[in-house]
């Protein structure tokens, strides 16, 4: 069985990351944007793991654990913020949450 070349993983990671960016910029629902951020994080995780495997080093794997921990914390805080926003504004549409300006 031949080894899958690292470039495959990297291309997949880039595609996932690109999708995340597009969704992040285009989508209007905060929860969708939140999911886009998670997608980008996991795309990066994939790249880390691929490099770690390719170079036979543990550094990338350690990084991945850190990212997962931070992402978990981030989702907890983020979801709490989203709930609060919804309670205050009765909407999750980003276009309508626009008071923070000059």
């Amino acid at each position: 069985m031949s080894i899958v070349p690292i470039s495959y993983y990297l291309v997949l990671s880039a595609i996932l990351f690109g999708l995340g960016i597009v969704a992040f910029v285009v989508k209007r629902n905060i929860i969708t944007i939140f999911m886009a951020i998670e997608l980008m994080l996991n795309a990066v995780n994939l790249a880390f793991v691929a490099f770690a495997r390719a170079h036979n080093q543990l550094d990338g794997l350690v990084f991945v654990f850190f990212v997962i921990v931070v992402a978990a914390a981030e989702s907890a805080v983020g979801l709490a913020i989203i709930i609060t926003v919804y309670q205050n504004r009765q909407t999750l549409n980003l276009e309508r949450i626009n008071l923070l300006k000059f």
């Binding site: 960016i21 992040f24 910029v25 209007r28 944007i33 980003l94 276009e95 949450i97 626009n98 008071l99 923070l100 300006k101 000059f102």
Partner: protein
């Protein structure tokens, strides 16, 4: 030795008085203001008297007596101590300053009795005494300069004392700015002095002059430059040509101020300074000649202007300018002691003249025009007699103080070591004019028929606190010159002898003066009493008598037949107009059209406003970014991230 060890007491007392009256005086009653104001100066006078007593016990090698209290400035080689110095010259000045100040303070309690800001007046006067004493006592030229500027400040404050009167304000500014022109020269002179001698202490500098070996000697050119620069300061402060214009205007101030500052003390600071710097001046013949020339010209021209003035104080002002000219003439021909002697006698009789004029003005309820007076002789007899004595003194009538000093100066100008017949003639003519305008003043004011409305003007003699100072000064105007009297009959001039160490210690080694031709005592007295100065003074008296008593139409006729010179004199040679056209107007034009409209409005305002406009407009463009739309923020974040990535890849590529 208490006071000599604590010289600071002399100057601290008036400062204390100024501080108390100036800071707290507003709530004081008049007696308290009086006792603080007069008391501080009186104590200072007593301290000076004690200092003189102690000074008399010093041995010759202890003089000059220098006390250093603390170091004021150190910067590299430049070191200035707060140190005070007493020598014979200082003693004379201390005595004159504190004594005349004391009398003027007492006089002011009467003259200023009904003025607003009574406490302010006394505070300024005390402050003036403080600075004047600092100037006189200073042992180095920088500390002297402090006093020098301080008296200028007080002069400004006191000339503009009635600050609701526009003419008083502009006169104060004129006095301040005109003397500042001279002070610029003085400052540069001080710097050059330090640069040359690496010290600012009088004694250190003078010692270098004497002991300097041949190749270390300072070039005469440098000395001349220093002396001329210092003299520029004296020209401004002592109101000599061409900077005398401020002094007549300074008469806008209260009359006691004119007497104290603009006659007796401050304006003589220039004379004092030149006398103090005599070792420098003695080694710079050109500077000496300039001093004498300026002095003689001023003595002459100011006297001619005085001939036709009608304001009683203006006459005295031009007379002051003229008499200061005599002092410089005396200094310039090498007769330092005579110049200082005239300074002292002038302080007495000119102070007296001004205070008497103040008393006349007081009696006339504020009118200063002599054509409105006349016949005041019997109404205000004390003032009349005092002023009469002062007039005799200033005119140089034998026996009165001015005679001795002026005679000495003219004698030195004619036959002294640096004699110059041309300057002597100028001085002599000036003396004749002096006698004429002073007796003209007396005759117009006190003789003849009253020309004022006797129902409207209630002429009254001044109160005692004004007449007592007059009487004291009248006594001094009479006897003040007698210390030099034995000189007339071949004896020593005690004043000259007293000051001799100041002017001889560091004098350049010169050939011994030729022994004077010996005359019999009687002949010397006869010559002194019938010399040119006396004759011309009597001539002035007679002409004034002829013009203003015998045939009062003559002056008018003369003025009509000599219209052009008369107008020229009446307008003071158009000097003010000339300065206005030649200096003030161009300055105003440049200030308005270049510095105001171009530099200030264009460059400075333009820069400031331009910076503000850039900030404002870039701000109003950039604030569009902050739309409040979170998605646009997200876009910016992405753009930023992509930018950073591209940059990093680019840099990585470059490193590789």
């Amino acid at each position: 030795m208490f006071i000599l060890n604590h010289l600071w007491i002399i100057i601290a007392l008036p400062l204390l008085g100024a501080a108390i009256n100036g800071l707290l005086g507003k709530n004081f009653s008049k007696p308290i203001v009086n006792s603080v104001g007069i008391g501080s100066v009186a104590l200072s006078f007593l301290a000076v008297a004690e200092a003189v007593r102690e000074f008399a016990q010093l041995s010759a090698d202890q003089i000059p007596w220098i006390k250093t209290y603390f170091t004021w400035i150190t910067a590299g080689q430049f070191k200035v101590d707060f140190s005070l110095q007493v020598d014979q010259l200082t003693v004379v000045m201390l005595f004159v300053v504190t004594f005349v100040s004391l009398l003027v303070h007492i006089y002011s309690t009467g003259y200023m009795a009904h003025e607003e800001g009574y406490y302010r007046f006394f505070s300024y006067l005390n402050l003036f005494v403080f600075f004047m004493l600092t100037l006189v006592l200073a042992a180095n030229v920088v500390l002297m300069f402090v006093g020098w500027e301080g008296v200028g400040l007080c002069s400004y404050l006191l000339v503009g004392f009635w600050f609701l009167k526009p003419s008083a304000i502009s006169a104060g500014k004129k006095a301040f700015i005109t003397t500042r022109i001279g002070d610029f020269g003085f400052t540069v002179g001080i710097l050059l002095l330090f640069w040359t001698f690496k010290s600012v202490d009088f004694v250190t500098i003078f010692k270098q002059l004497v002991s300097g070996s041949q190749d270390a000697a300072v070039p005469t050119g440098v000395l001349t430059t220093i002396c001329l620069l210092l003299f520029t300061g004296a020209v401004g402060k002592s109101a000599q040509l061409p900077l005398y214009v401020w002094l007549p205007d300074a008469m806008e101030g209260p009359t006691p101020v004119s007497a104290l500052i603009h006659a007796a003390t401050m304006v003589t600071a220039g004379v004092y300074m030149v006398a103090r710097m005599n070792p420098l001046f003695s080694r710079a013949p050109v500077a000496m000649f300039v001093v004498a020339l300026i002095g003689a010209l001023t003595a002459f021209f100011a006297a001619t202007i005085g001939l036709v003035q009608t304001d009683i104080k203006k006459v005295l002002a031009y007379s002051t300018v003229s008499q200061l000219g005599y002092m410089f003439l005396g200094l310039g021909v090498g007769a330092y002691a005579s110049g200082v002697f005239h300074l002292m006698t002038h302080a007495f009789f000119k102070g007296l003249l001004f205070l008497s004029a103040g008393s006349v003005i007081h009696a006339m309820s504020g009118d200063q025009e002599m054509p409105h007076m006349g016949g005041l002789r019997n109404k205000i007899p004390i003032t009349f007699w005092c002023m009469f004595i002062a007039t005799f003194a200033i005119a140089g009538i034998p026996g009165f103080a001015g005679f001795f000093s002026k005679d000495e100066i003219l004698e030195a100008a004619l036959s002294g070591p640096l004699a110059n017949p041309f300057l002597w003639i100028l001085g002599l003519l000036g003396a004749g004019f002096t006698s004429f305008y002073m007796f003209r003043l007396i005759f117009l004011t006190f003789f003849g028929e009253p020309r004022y409305d006797e129902h409207k003007v209630h002429v009254h003699e001044s109160p005692y606190n004004m007449t007592v100072p007059l009487i004291l000064l009248a006594i001094l105007s009479t006897v003040g010159g007698w210390v030099a009297a034995p000189h007339l009959i071949g004896g020593p001039d005690y004043f000259e002898k007293f000051l001799h160490p100041v002017f001889a210690t560091y004098a350049p080694a010169a050939a011994e003066a030729a022994p004077e031709a010996l005359e019999s005592t009687g002949m010397m007295l006869f010559h002194a009493l019938t010399g040119w100065p006396v004759l011309i003074a009597l001539a002035g008296l007679l002409v004034a008598w002829w013009f203003y008593i015998k045939s009062p139409e003559t002056p008018k006729k003369l003025a009509n037949s000599l219209r052009a010179p008369y107008t020229l004199l009446l307008h003071k040679y158009y000097v003010d107009e000339l300065y206005n056209a030649a200096i003030i107007q161009p300055l105003l034009w440049i200030s308005t059209n270049v510095f105001w409209h171009v530099v200030d409005e264009g460059v400075i305002d333009g820069t400031v406003n331009g910076v503000a406009r850039v900030a404002r407009e870039s701000g109003s463009e950039l604030r569009e970014i902050q739309s409040g739309n979170a998605r646009s923020y997200a876009t910016w974040v992405v753009i930023g991230a992509v930018g950073v990535t591209v940059l990093m890849i680019g840099l990585w590529g470059m490193v590789r």
